[in-house]
């Protein structure tokens, strides 16, 4: 019932159908305790594009992503990836968690973390062969971290940690990349490196979805936006969707009018 209500309230406007979409969410509700963090949200990600999920703090951006992946159990809602249930499409998804979600004093080296991206391919007992190692090193090179391969992960700066996580996702060679706040607390050099990798993925036909908090870079970095504040606010190309009216809806009084004028396109 709630699924139906949700789609009635947000009729699909774009061309992307649910079957084509790399990531389609329907009627998603996630609650912590009694208060929904994400309520009856529909999302249809357009293939081959970079989409930013934006919204104020506590709007459920990360929660939506985690619920779609099954990291959080949603109360209601379904997720399909390239038209099939997410559980059957894990091999096509690469997820980059928030950097702060793990313990960086864990006894492991940079190269070992990247090799984790090959675990699905290696299976339980498959040996790590030189080809695997070369692939992991290649992914490190793509994020500019090749000189750090045998460092302990605790010695890395925040930006370097983030790039190691991205290298691990690259090793998976997926079709859909989901990133949770990839630019949070990283230096400018890292931000530049990450965005150029993401754009090269997009240019190779992959789909990129990132939870993003810096409104000033949305127009530079992304093709599409998805605005959320517990409920879905709007979804579509930056040009037509990242506009004052929608930002007003999502952020309410939290953004001054002048700020919004400066950020939004019209």
């Amino acid at each position: 019932m709630s699924i139906k209500l949700a789609s009635e309230r947000h009729p699909e406007t774009g061309q992307t159908s649910r079957e084509d979409s790399p990531l389609a969410v329907r009627g998603m509700t996630v609650s912590y305790g009694q208060k929904p963090a994400v309520f009856s949200v529909d999302m249809t990600v357009e293939p081959g594009k970079m989409t930013a999920i934006i919204g104020p703090n506590g709007a459920g951006k990360s929660t939506l992503l985690k619920a779609a992946l099954g990291i959080h159990k949603p109360l209601a809602g379904t997720t399909t990836v390239f038209g099939k249930p997410v559980g059957a499409q894990r091999h096509r998804i690469a997820y980059v968690p928030q950097r702060a979600s793990v313990d960086w004093d864990f006894p492991t080296r940079v190269i070992d973390v990247v090799l984790m991206g090959l675990y699905p391919q290696l299976g339980l007992l498959g040996r790590v062969r030189p080809a695997h190692r070369a692939r992991a090193e290649d992914c490190l090179t793509r994020v500019g971290m090749e000189d750090f391969a045998s460092r302990q992960i605790g010695q890395l700066s925040g930006g370097q940690q983030q790039r190691v996580f991205l290298a691990r996702a690259l090793a998976q060679d997926a079709d859909l990349y989901l990133l949770d706040e990839p630019f949070a607390g990283v230096d400018a050099a890292t931000e530049k490196a990450i965005i150029s990798v993401l754009k090269s993925l997009r240019d190779a036909g992959k789909t990129v979805v990132a939870v993003h908090h810096d409104l000033s870079t949305v127009t530079d970095y992304f093709d599409n936006v998805f605005l959320i504040n517990t409920r879905r606010i709007a979804e579509g190309p930056v040009k037509t969707t990242f506009v004052t009216a929608n930002l007003q809806d999502a952020y309410g009084g939290r953004l001054a009018g002048a700020q919004m004028e400066a950020l939004a396109l019209s």
């Binding site: 998804i93 997820y95 979600s101 492991t108 000189d147 691990r168």
Partner: protein
């Protein structure tokens, strides 16, 4: 005597106990590693204390059915069942109520243990209970260990090692980054369950040798000790197994050689000795090496600051800096630079300019990571790179 014990020359039973304990120690060290890495080490304490009511109830059931109640397999089955109930309670309290895991562990541990002690007291009053010897499960008793007991331990230890080997990747992922593990389709709940099952098996098997109060030490001390020596997960697992095996071997041998010394506590103390040694002398993470590193670092900081102060003609106030500069022959006791010191000071200043260039260029990122204001730049960059950097230093800053 101790030498004989260590060489397994103290007779059949002592040898059996020592070998059994060694295998148990290895299994506990390996099985405990991922519990430690998952930061759930204390769950093992709840598991071990929750075995007691099961042991007592199993005894009562077997006596009621007409046996002596001392069948080891029967007692251990009871232990495993009640430990499993305790474990489920801890995870239920932790996930379904607002209770934090430490509070859940504390509640389950004390309630189960208290209940077990009450049951033991009841058993004391039963006619068959007088010689039950169930107190042996508290601190371990190896006196009457049978060949079949040793076999049970050996098989369980081998199974534990094989299971950890098989599951090393899921266990590593679940410990390091459970959210990512879910995203690639791993059932983290099932991995955790397997890990807990592993720990439960080691605990139950270890009851006879080290007892339920101390088995937790055998699960936690070896991985903590191993962590001092390496930065790699697989090495932590192996070293932990070795530390556990060695502690148990030496501990069991010592207790065989010295009459009336209980096995479990001695094993734990040997393990602690290895831990203390590692804490002190391990390279990298040990206390001594950290202290030495700090002292060296402090000296280099003072020297470098002193050189930069001299190069810029600023006075030096700190006595430590003056003393170190003097000892290097770079300055007179009153802080006036010597000929040698002037040269070094100029070089330090030039390196500062070079670092400034490097820091602003992302192409030098790996080199920048080594910029601590102290490292000689010649050890980081090649001559060609240095020439390139020097060409970019603004004229006014160049120090001849």
């Amino acid at each position: 005597m101790i030498r004989d014990a260590l060489l397994l020359q103290l007779g059949y039973n002592a040898t059996l106990v020592t070998l059994g304990a060694t295998l148990l120690g290895m299994a506990a060290g390996v099985g405990g590693t991922f519990l430690f890495l998952r930061k759930r080490a204390l769950v093992s304490d709840a598991i071990s204390h929750a075995t007691l009511p099961g042991v007592a109830l199993a005894f009562m059931v077997m006596v009621t059915l007409g046996g002596t109640g001392r069948n080891l397999v029967g007692l251990l089955t009871g232990a495993a069942l009640s430990a499993a109930v305790g474990l489920l309670l801890v995870s239920w309290l932790g996930t379904r109520t607002r209770l934090a895991e430490d509070a859940a562990i504390g509640s389950v541990l004390s309630v189960f243990f208290g209940f077990g002690i009450v049951l033991l007291t009841v058993i004391q009053t039963m006619s068959a209970g007088q010689q039950a010897g169930l107190e042996g499960f508290l601190l371990g008793s190896t006196a009457g260990m049978l060949r079949s007991d040793a076999m049970v331990i050996a098989v369980s230890a081998a199974l534990t090692l094989a299971l950890v080997m098989l599951m090393r990747r899921p266990l590593t992922l679940a410990s390091f980054d459970p959210e990512y593990a879910v995203s690639i389709g791993q059932d983290v709940r099932r991995t955790d369950l397997a890990m807990m099952g592993l720990v439960l098996a080691v605990t139950v098997v270890g009851l006879k040798i080290v007892g339920l109060i101390l088995i937790v030490a055998l699960l936690i001390i070896p991985p903590v000790t191993a962590r001092f020596w390496t930065e790699r997960t697989d090495h932590v697992v192996m070293i932990s197994g070795a530390v556990g095996g060695l502690s148990a071997y030496v501990g069991a041998a010592l207790s065989a050689a010295i009459p009336a010394v209980p096995t479990g506590p001695i094993i734990v103390l040997v393990g602690f000795a290895l831990f203390a040694l590692s804490l002190l002398v391990a390279p990298g993470r040990g206390v001594v090496s950290a202290l030495a590193r700090h002292r060296t670092h402090q000296r280099r900081v003072h020297l470098r600051q002193g050189l930069l102060a001299m190069a810029q003609g600023q006075p030096i106030y700190e006595n430590m800096t003056l003393r170190l500069l003097h000892r290097q022959g770079w300055a007179r006791p009153d802080g006036v630079p010597t000929e040698l010191g002037r040269g070094r000071a100029a070089r330090a200043l030039r390196d500062e300019s070079r670092w400034r260039v490097i820091r602003s260029d992302p192409a030098f990122e790996a080199a920048t990571a080594q910029d601590d204001g102290l490292t000689d730049i010649e050890t980081v960059l090649t001559a060609d790179q240095l020439a390139e950097v020097d060409a970019r230093i603004p004229r006014a800053e160049v120090v001849a």
